[in-house]
């Protein structure tokens, strides 16, 4: 029987070796760690992909959101680079393109006719950099005011459509002992939404684009006017104090418990609201878009697009391209966005939306255009100074002119040095 055992072992070894060589491995990195809707969405997406391609195994690498911003930039320059990784469309991806760390997918884009499934505006904004295709836009998020519906109902308030109505709502809330506004600015970035929308609603998207490209000044009267509107909110005490002590999701608890009423934040907050804070959409919270200020300026929508890109040093580009294509497909986008709660970019993808998400989607469809928020559409070193300036302004609103002058001076230096 000895030779039978040896033969059996030999056959098993051969089978194992052959099957091992037939299984391809693709490594994907993203910033949705365990416990959140993003991780569930990725798990479902990957499961569907592996079912379609049983010879490809996907290994997930997850890093916490803030740590991911720094870790991924080091990782993609090494041999340990993931094949595909999530990233933010806009200036940050442009930077990686300029550094030569990304793999262009022009050939794949043409082969799969992806121009037919994504809106041109999204392709231009999120996919194409320096004339080449790089990113598959997976989910689109929108920034607006998430508000405590019960507080609004208690004081008979309606969603404000104009700036005048917004200030009236704030005043009523304040007079009843509720902070009209809360934000969690420990890591600075939530404050950019105020700056962004105030500029978009008063000066318009073309001026904002020029400002972020260094072709307009931070001391321009249009920027000063936007800051004065923001200052008015601070002077009247509408912001809940302590905002620099909380991360963006920590501040949500004050919205839900009714100490504050409105929070200018992206719809990724829905995951925390539903899962961690057990808030019910349409009952505990609702949403309205940033009110109009100048009636002649078209209403635009602001937010990030989450996408995936292939590393230039990806060990398995072939498998990475297959996963990229699946992520671009209606099936992949439907699965991902169903669980993530964001909006698919593929026009044929379908997702179920709750009552709040449906409102957001309708606002997006009616928006004149969609724009990336400040730190994703401004060169990163300038955005860094800008974000610090917004925090300083929140603490010292009377110094807004000096802050803008300093910001302009530093931005000019950085643009001049090519950074």
């Amino acid at each position: 029987m000895r030779w039978c055992s040896k033969l059996l072992i030999g056959i098993l070894v051969v089978i194992f070796a052959v099957s091992a060589t037939c299984v391809e491995v693709v490594k994907v990195a993203h910033y949705w760690p365990s416990g959140g809707f993003g991780k569930v969405a990725m798990d479902r997406l990957i499961a569907a992909f592996e079912k379609k391609y049983p010879n490809i195994r996907v290994i997930e690498v997850t890093v916490e959101h803030e740590a991911y911003k720094t870790k991924i930039k080091s990782l993609i320059t090494t041999k340990q680079t993931p094949d595909l990784f999530s990233y933010w469309a806009g200036a940050r991806t442009q930077f990686l393109v300029d550094a030569g760390t990304l793999y262009p997918v022009d050939g794949l884009w043409m082969r799969e006719s992806l121009d037919k499934v994504f809106p041109k505006s999204i392709i231009d904004a999120a996919v194409v950099y320096s004339g080449h295709h790089y990113m598959v836009p997976l989910g689109l998020h929108m920034v607006g005011f998430i508000y405590n519906k019960k507080v609004f109902e208690k004081y008979g308030l309606k969603e404000p459509k104009t700036w005048k109505e917004f200030l009236e709502v704030c005043e009523i809330l304040k007079s009843n002992g509720v902070y009209p506004l809360v934000t969690g600015a420990k890591f600075r970035w939530p404050l950019q939404f105020f700056f962004d929308y105030l500029i978009l609603r008063t000066a318009g998207p073309e001026f904002r684009e020029a400002l972020q490209a260094g072709k307009a000044s931070y001391t321009d009267p249009r920027v000063v006017h936007a800051m004065e509107l923001w200052k008015e909110l601070l002077d009247k005490g509408y912001f809940m104090p302590g905002f620099s002590a909380w991360d963006w999701d920590e501040a949500l608890r004050y919205l839900v418990n009714g100490q504050a009423a409105m929070y200018l934040m992206g719809d990724w907050a829905i995951s925390t609201l539903k899962q961690d804070l057990k808030a019910v959409p349409g009952v505990d919270y609702d949403w309205f878009e940033f009110p109009a200020i100048n009636p002649y300026v078209p209403k635009t929508m602001l937010g990030p697009i989450d996408g995936f890109i292939i590393s230039a040093k990806a060990p398995n580009k072939k498998a990475a391209e297959k996963l990229f294509t699946f992520m671009a497909s209606a099936e992949g986008q439907s699965i991902f966005n169903k669980y993530k709660g964001s909006n698919p970019c593929n026009i044929y993808a379908e997702v179920e939306r709750d009552v709040v998400q449906q409102e957001e989607f309708e606002a997006l469809q009616n928006a004149a255009s969609f724009h990336f928020n400040y730190d994703l559409s401004t060169p990163p070193p300038v955005a860094d100074v800008g974000l610090d300036s917004f925090v300083e302004f929140m603490h010292n609103p009377d110094n807004y002119m000096q802050i803008l002058e300093r910001l302009q001076k530093r931005a000019q230096e950085l643009f001049k040095s090519g950074k």
Binding site: L96, G100, T101, S244, K419
Partner: protein, 290 residues
């Protein structure tokens, strides 16, 4: 048994190789990159001479970070070391339950600075943090602050958290120092009429010079290289009010794609620490020799 120099060298090869690979070579590479415009990601970069250093000395953010380091140095040399000395003096006497107290005061030292930072972030939370809840409950509402959110309190608040962790370490060093003081000297001083504070400052404290040198040297080096507790609590905010050089260079390297400039900051930081500790050690050890 005589050990040959060859044997000694053979045993030292491995730790030396590790030290050269992990400490010396990154030091040399940092120095080299400080003269380039490397963004930290690209494979291409150019030699730009001392431009990074010129930019650094003209940059107000650098001076802001350096001044925060100096404030941090003053706080961390005084708060944990004075507290450590005080606790060591009390616990050196045969206090009932002294061993338990020593363990309790030393325990925070085993926590990492990141864990300490996260823990104290909750203590300082403006609405439901333990500190503000306590102040409100005892009628000290006027002292309630958003400790980590206000420019006037942030650095001090972080220093309190760091001192909470560090005091046990100073206490242990001073305890060791106190145990090393010959009893006869203290007894003679008592017989001569010295007591209380006079005994401590005129007799005991001068004999703790070695412990004090160690404690202050550690504090100085730690103060200039502090990063994790500040980054975990505030990331240097609000608007750079708690930003120190290590946090500043981290942001320049990993947020602003400015690795060459960040290396220049690291070189300056290294030079500052080297000068200060060399001068201090020379001054202190000279005193010891005489």
């Amino acid at each position: 048994m005589c050990v040959s120099k060859k044997t000694i060298f053979l045993f030292l090869i491995t730790p030396l190789a590790v030290y050269i690979f992990f400490v010396i070579s990154p030091l040399i590479m940092t120095f080299m990159y400080s003269f380039t415009d490397w963004d930290g990601v690209s494979t291409q970069f150019s030699f730009i001479g001392i431009r990074n250093f010129i930019e650094l000395f003209k940059n107000s953010f650098f001076w802001n970070a350096l001044s925060n380091n100096i404030k941090w140095l003053v706080m961390m040399i005084t708060i944990p070391n004075l507290l450590g000395l005080f606790l060591a003096s009390i616990l050196n006497e045969n206090v009932r339950g002294g061993l338990i107290f020593k363990v309790i005061f030393y325990l925070p030292t085993v926590l990492s600075y990141i864990v300490t930072g996260l823990l104290w972030s909750w203590v300082f939370e403006p609405n439901i943090g333990a500190l503000n809840l306590f102040l409100r409950s005892v009628g000290l509402r006027k002292m309630v602050h958003a400790w980590l959110a206000e420019p006037s309190t942030v650095l001090f608040a972080i220093a309190v958290a760091a001192a909470w962790r560090q005091t046990g370490f100073s206490m242990v060093l001073y305890l060791a120092g106190l145990k090393g003081i010959p009893e006869e000297i203290v007894e003679s001083a008592r017989i001569d009429g010295a007591k209380g504070l006079t005994l401590f400052w005129k007799i005991i404290f001068p004999l703790l010079k070695s412990s004090t040198i160690v404690v202050i040297t550690f504090s100085m080096i730690d103060s200039f290289t502090v990063f994790d507790i500040i980054f975990s609590m505030t990331q240097g905010g609000p608007y750079r009010c708690s930003e120190v050089l290590a946090v500043y260079l981290y942001k320049e390297a990993f947020w602003n794609y400015n690795a060459g400039y960040s290396c220049a900051v690291a070189v300056i930081l290294f030079t500052i620490v080297l000068i200060i500790t060399t001068v201090y050690m020379k001054f202190s050890l000279k005193g010891e020799e005489t």
